[in-house]
């Protein structure tokens, strides 16, 4: 288990100073707009996938600590990764949010969400940005 104070610091840091924040106007980036049906988060995610590599991630929007921090953390995690590696991390993260036991070292700072499963009404906040990333990667295979 990650230390509680460390988790708190990670979440607050990413919430107040999100990484890869701000959208770009560039045709290489594909965008997903996530406006959750059950909450007020409204986030846009952009991915620049070149060949098999997730070259860059950008995001912006209105969100709570969980949605902002999880999107920020994952933007760091998958940047520079091969698509399959990024998808594997996202799958791991989904298992983490279900509260499944396992080794989540690879998720680095995203381990801060290891007890989020205990707040079922907030799990969706942790998913909103990451699901957009997953969809954008999967769609990139279709072309």
């Amino acid at each position: 288990m990650m230390d509680t104070e460390l988790k708190r610091a990670i979440l607050i840091d990413h919430y107040q100073k999100p990484h890869n924040h701000g959208l770009v106007e560039d045709a290489r980036y594909k965008m997903k707009h996530q406006a959750s049906s059950s909450c007020i988060d409204d986030i846009k995610v952009q991915l620049d996938i070149e060949g098999d590599i997730v070259k860059d991630v950008r995001f912006d929007g209105v969100g709570c600590t969980i949605s902002t921090a999880s999107t920020s953390i994952f933007s760091d995690l998958i940047k520079g990764k091969k698509r399959a590696e990024a998808l594997e991390m996202i799958e791991q993260y989904y298992r983490l949010l279900k509260g499944e036991a396992g080794d989540y070292e690879d998720l680095e700072e995203a381990q801060a969400f290891e007890t989020l499963y205990a707040q079922p009404n907030r799990v969706k906040c942790g998913l909103i940005g990451v699901e957009a990333m997953e969809e954008l990667i999967r769609e990139s295979y279709e072309k």
């Binding site: 708190r8 979440l11 919430y15 007020i40 209105v62 709570c64 969980i66 707040q119 907030r122």
Partner: protein, 407 residues
């Protein structure tokens, strides 16, 4: 004499959850024992359909069900129980007006005048009606702090306006609209006025004859009754001329294989299908419960709580408080630097239940500049001690603590 401790004792939710401070009554209100008894009485002793069987229980259930119209007529001071349409709630009542009145009376170029204060239920039906008829929506401008004034209404009103669709009390800001003056002005232009009374009827003395509104829709569940029941009040001469909204059993007198339908008279023509009988009986018990305490006493207590609450809120410096001048016990705010839902989770961890979000009024941010807020809404069973506890928790709230409840 308004005895809140005695009132609290009437509500099993308070007895069964003494640890919870429930500040979300604008979403739905707790139910007192007489309401629960009325529902259980139907299930235990009179589970039969109404207006159907030739046996004593059906006759008895029909009589009790029809009595609801008399009680609701008294509750809002309608002229006759024929003006009381029993519905499934404010949403269904407002849809009946938009469809059964709007579709058949509006034409291209006509205007439906409304406001940014409206709940989705009072504006989406009119969007659809306008789409079907070619009528268009116009908005009465609000003042900077979100009030809809007589002056602004008068300026927005013109010959083209055929329907005025407004809420009585804003579900986000708790401001009461000057409905009586609005009706007078609208009528002088020949427009009709449809009022969303969902928030007002539980918290204000609503007298439809004095207001002279043409329609008023409200829900049982916000006035301590069961959900899935409500009332649409309409002036009888309007109801009489309107088509039905839902068609089916109970609302027609005759029909033949050629498709000729003779509808029953109002209000029955609007009540196709087996109604929510137990919910309606519960709503009757709720109206009786509130009238026994006295709406004037409830309103006075509500205002007293509002005043007390707003003074305490204004003394906090970590809060963005949007409606210190609310007319009902409803406090809308944000904690500086903390997203509404994070603050709501922290309050919930402290056993204080409030609502966060846009409260179904998704165009109001145009007026107040905040897309999401926290809303603490009170009712007759809340106390100053609960407000004190709420303020104490709010005073010490920090982002670190909010994140802490998620770890």
């Amino acid at each position: 004499m308004f005895d809140v401790e005695k009132i609290r004792n009437d509500f099993p939710m308070i007895r069964n959850h003494p640890e919870i401070i429930y500040f979300d009554s604008a979403a739905t209100a707790y139910k007192p024992q007489p309401v629960i008894d009325a529902v259980a009485d139907f299930y235990n002793y009179r589970t039969v359909n109404v207006h159907r069987g030739d046996y004593p229980l059906s006759f008895e259930a029909s009589r009790l069900y029809e009595d609801t119209r008399k009680v609701m007529k008294k509750f809002i001071n309608a002229r006759s129980e024929k003006e009381i349409v029993l519905t499934y709630g404010a949403t269904s009542g407002l849809n009946i007006v938009a469809y059964s009145y709007g579709h058949f009376n509006l034409k291209e170029g006509d205007v439906v005048l409304t406001s940014y204060l409206e709940h989705a239920s009072d504006i989406l039906p009119w969007f659809k009606t306008c789409e079907m008829t070619g009528a268009k929506i116009e908005y009465v401008p609000l003042t900077e702090d979100g009030h809809l004034t007589v002056e602004n209404f008068e300026k927005a009103m013109h010959e083209g306006v055929k329907v005025v669709a407004l809420t009585f009390v804003s579900n986000v800001l708790g401001y009461e609209l000057p409905v009586k003056e609005i009706c007078r002005i609208a009528h002088s232009y020949g427009a009709i006025v449809a009022i969303d009374g969902a928030q007002a009827v539980p918290h204000a003395i609503v007298d439809v004859q004095d207001l002279d509104c043409d329609f008023l829709a409200f829900s049982s569940h916000k006035m301590c009754g069961p959900s899935g029941a409500g009332v649409l009040y309409g002036k009888y001469e309007l109801l009489d001329k309107m088509n039905a909204f839902l068609f089916g059993g109970g609302a027609n007198a005759r029909f033949d294989k050629e498709g000729n339908i003779i509808l029953k008279e109002a209000p029955y023509k609007f009540e196709a299908g087996t109604p929510n009988i137990e919910g309606t009986l519960g709503m009757k018990a709720a109206a009786e419960y509130l009238m026994n305490i006295g709406m004037e006493n409830i309103v006075a207590y509500d205002r007293e709580l509002q005043k007390y609450f707003s003074e305490k809120m204004l003394a906090l410096d970590n809060i963005e408080y949007y409606n210190p001048k609310a007319d009902v016990g409803l406090v809308t705010f944000n904690v500086k630097g903390i997203f509404a839902q994070d603050a709501a989770s922290y309050l919930a961890a402290n056993r204080i239940d409030v609502r966060s979000g846009n409260h179904c009024a998704k165009i109001l941010w145009n007026a107040i500049g905040a897309t999401e807020t926290l809303r603490a809404s009170l009712y007759l069973y809340n106390t100053k001690a609960e407000i004190d506890r709420f303020i104490e928790v709010l005073r010490d709230i920090t982002l670190e603590k909010c994140v802490g409840v998620l770890l």
